[in-house]
Structure formats: structure tokens, C-alpha cells
Symmetry: C2
Subunit: 300 residues, 2 copies
């Protein structure tokens, strides 16, 4: 990160909460920092990466579902027309989600994600999706942990889509990943216990769901929160409402050259949260102005 | 703990999973140990302590609910007849649970629990409930953590009933407590964000729910699991079904003098899990034979 006001704000915050005897000192156990994932820790353009995973799963499963050729939204997906497929709204999206994310055991699903994430490549850069992470955010995660923070992901994305690679890529272990989920059921199959993924929504970790997810999984209020869209607004509000020193931050996608410049997109607009950030003095990081490098593979 | 076969089994397990180069070596990140709470980490007699909390809440709230004098199960509860109150079955119990555990914010509920746990006393010993914990289990938690383990509670009890004191009493932080829960909802009240506890079940962390709770909160399989009842059987099965070295253990309540001797009780019998432990060679700790002290306040 460049030496800008945003960086200074982060460093000042960390210095004051870690300085023993300071009125803002926070014990190590309470140094909880939460991060959105899509658009905050890794890129989310041209579409969120889990949507690509879903599309690739539809393609892989199509031979077992000849009826999909005639059936929307599967027919459009198989023609590669993600936009037409998503036009059907939430109900169609849920149908595809369940067809691709449920029905297998949790171990089987992890293997499917591991195989995909180690081979699938970003359509614009040709890089693995795990290379499409933001270098300054990797440095920030490491910096916070070096200062006694526990770092959590709190994402609208699927919790089991992130866990298989989050530890390797971000240094965030599975027990510190919070996300959306479907229900699972314990069963004995062939004498062996398994957890079967059911085609039934369990929890949506987005917008007002994020403070709920934080409360369920972490059980205490974060003192720092990082997001990039209106889906993160409530998480930042919830973090801000605690006593003592707090740090709320939005990543603003302002770099059309090295990444993307956008505020309004189909999934994950930044409007209301940006207004609130300006009103309340939350830190806004401009990718264009504040980041020397965007991706690890960029040259400075 | 006395130097018995059970203690030797635990130490042997820890030595082999922590010895680098050993075929059973487990990296620190994967050293996950899970513990039931009621009857495993603390006492659960004459009734589980959260039931006493519930009763005390009914008494405290009764002035605001004059109709309870005539209305079961509240009427029996107010007369102190827990047995009659519980006779109404799950539906009545749920009604009392919601009347006492829902309707307030999460911050308000934490305060209620903190006040209760710091003052309420066990009917037999006159001790605070947080003193009714098992000394050898405190030592075991510390021993495992000293060997790189992350220790989690996985209890049928309420997650928000345990979190306010688990860190102080067991050294287990809120984010490592898994339990049963009701739903919460994010709201802005008087300009301040709150999470309101709703009278609606969210998750029951018991029996086949325990592997589900482990998967949701921890996201990887434990290598050691400790329980004391049939409610823990599936958690032990799930732990046992992973690859590599595993440690499954039941605490057997065999000490009528220093604690209680029981297998069959209204809530939390030990029958099927004990059979499975014998068949599969899981470790069974006899409180009478294996423990020098039961409670921290006991003399050896």
C-alpha cells in the first residue's frame, strides 16, 4: 500500500489499540477483524467467482441431466449466457445453486471445490482465481495478525466454497470463515458417518445477515471491519456501534486500468455504504490512489 | 487425574500426534479437540444448570406476567416443581425457553447471564455454578492447549448461555463455543444497531446435530472428542471416522460420593454411546477410579 491517509489511518488504529496503558488498548482476545471476501479480499469481476464455479458445475453435470438442454435457467447457462440465466431472478439462481452445491457429502463437495480452484482460470487474466487476490489486503491481514488480531472472513459467498482454500491463500483457517450455507444432515452410509448437503437454504450471510453471522460464529463484536459494497453496510454499522476504538473501512473500486472501476453492478453495488462512510468518517481506500500493486502478479 | 490407563491413553495420543516425523503427526492447525459441556466439563445434577437459570428467569419475570400463576408450565415452575413443569414435554419446555431466552437484545441477554452466573448457587454444594467444573477436565484443556490444540465446546446447551463465562472458566473464547441457538434479527433501535433474540429455534446442537454444529462452526473434523452421554455419540462417531490418529472419550459418572453415579436420567442418559465405546475401544473415564479430585474445591 502507498503511504497515503488510508494507510496512516490503519496504522494509527493498530498502534493505539495495541499500546498497553493507552486508553484505547484492546486485549488480544478482543482484537477481532472481519473481512468481506468478494471485492474486498479478491476480485469479483466480471462476475463473482462462485458464479463461474456454479456454471462450470452445470457444464460438468449436464451429461447426467439431458433435460437441462430445454430447461431454463440451465439451457442459457449451457450456452454460456450467464446474463440470460441470471435474468430469471433469485428463484432460478437458487435452483442452479441447489443443483450444483447440494446432494453430495461435505467431503465430496470439498474435493469438487479443491479441484476447481486449482485449475479454473480467470477469463481476463488467465490467472488462477486464487491469484486474483489483492496484494495490499494480504499484507493487511498479515499486519493485523502480527499485532495480535484474529482475522475472519464474513462473506455472502458460500462458507464451504471458501474454506477449502482460505487458509492457504489468506492464512484464515476454516473456523474463522463465516459465509452463506445450506443445511446438512448427519447420516451413516455404508457404515461410515457422513454429512449430506441438502438442497435447502440455511443462512444468508449478507446485509443484515452479516451481524447475525458474526454473532453466531464469533460471539463478540469486531473492532475492525473491511468491506466494499452495500452488502457490508450492516457489518460496518455493527462494528462501529461497539465501545472504544473502532476501524471501519471500504475498498473503493476506482482502478479501471489495473482492476475495474465500478459502483453499481448487478451483484454488490456500493452506494448507501459509501454515503454512510463519508458521513461518519469511515476510511475509504481508493484502489487507484492507495494501492501500489493490486494483484500479487502486478509489477509496481 | 490419577495415573490410570485412561490418563496413559490420553498422554500416548498427545505424544504421537505432536511428535514431528511420527506417522501419526498432526499439524497444529488440525489439532482440534471438542468437548461436550453438561456432565463433561461441568456438573449437570440434580438438573442441567441452564434449567435452573430458566427457572430463576421465570421467577424474575413473574411480576410482569400475572397470568403465569394459572398457566402451565409456568404455574408449576413458580411453585418450584421442576419435574411437573418438565412433564409437559418438549412443547412446554420450548415455551418456557422462549419466554425466558428471547425478546431482548443479545447484549441484554449476555448481561442477564453474567448476573445470574456470578450469583446463583448450586443447591447441594452452595457453590457458584462455575465452581462446579471438573478439575481434571480443566487440567486436560490446559494440557491439550499447551500441546497446540484448539479446544472447542460442542454442547446441547445454549451457545449464548455459555459464551459469557466460558473464556474465564475454561479458557475457551466465544468463537470456540458451539451450542444450540435461537434466531436473531438485526435492527436499528433509537439509532443504534442491535441484534434481537427471536422466539424461534435456530439450531439444536445435540445428537446428530453435533457433527452438523462442528461442521458449521469449525469446518474441519476434530481429532479428539470428549462427551458423557448418548447426545455425544454422533460427535464421537464423526471424530472417529476421520483418517489418522483419533481419540474418543466418555466421562462416566460413577462417583456417588463426590459427585453422582448415574447412567439413566431424564436428560442425558449414557447407554448406546457406552456400548459403542466398549465395542470400539474408546476410552472411558470413571470419575470414581480415575479422578483424584472432582471439583477444584475438593481436597485430594
Amino acid at each position: 500500500m502507498s503511504d497515503t491517509a488510508a494507510k496512516k489511518a490503519i496504522v494509527d488504529f493498530v498502534l493505539k489499540v495495541t499500546k498497553e496503558g493507552s486508553p484505547d488498548f484492546v486485549p488480544v482476545a478482543e482484537r477481532i477483524a472481519v473481512f468481506d471476501n468478494d471485492g474486498t479480499l479478491w476480485c469479483e469481476r466480471p462476475v463473482p467467482f462462485q458464479a463461474v464455479f456454479m456454471l462450470d458445475r452445470v457444464k460438468a453435470l449436464a451429461p447426467q441431466h439431458p433435460e437441462w438442454k430445454e430447461k431454463e435457467p440451465f439451457a442459457s447457462l449451457l450456452k454460456g449466457d450467464l446474463k440470460a440465466a441470471l435474468a430469471g431472478g433469485e428463484r432460478d439462481a437458487l435452483q442452479v445453486l441447489m443443483a450444483t452445491h447440494a446432494g453430495m457429502t461435505t467431503d465430496e463437495f470439498r474435493k469438487i471445490v479443491e479441484d476447481w480452484i486449482s485449475t479454473a482460470r480467470h477469463p481476463k487474466t488467465g490467472r488462477l482465481y486464487t491469484e486474483m487476490v489483492y496484494q495490499p489486503m494480504l499484507e493487511l491481514l498479515a499486519y493485523l495478525r502480527a499485532n495480535g488480531f484474529k482475522t475472519f472472513i464474513v462473506s455472502g459467498g458460500g462458507i464451504e466454497f471458501m474454506r477449502p482454500w482460505a487458509e492457504k491463500v489468506y492464512g484464515i483457517p476454516p473456523e474463522q470463515v463465516v459465509g452463506s450455507s445450506i443445511k446438512t444432515k448427519y447420516e451413516i452410509r455404508d457404515g461410515k458417518p457422513v454429512l449430506v448437503r441438502l438442497p435447502e437454504a440455511n443462512f444468508i450471510d449478507d446485509q443484515a445477515g452479516k451481524p447475525v453471522g458474526i454473532h453466531t460464529h464469533i460471539g463478540r463484536r469486531p473492532i475492525a471491519a473491511f468491506g466494499n459494497s452495500d452488502g457490508d453496510q450492516q457489518m460496518l454499522q455493527w462494528t462501529a456501534a461497539g465501545g472504544g476504538a473502532r476501524f471501519m473501512c471500504l475498498i473503493h473500486h476506482t482502478d479501471a486500468e489495473r482492476e475495474w472501476a465500478y459502483d453499481k453492478i448487478a451483484m454488490g453495488s456500493l452506494e448507501k455504504a459509501l454515503d454512510e462512510a463519508k458521513t461518519r468518517g469511515w476510511t475509504v481506500i481508493s484502489m487507484k490512489d492507495d494501492w501500489k500493486r493490486v494483484f500479487p502478479f502486478d509489477t509496481e
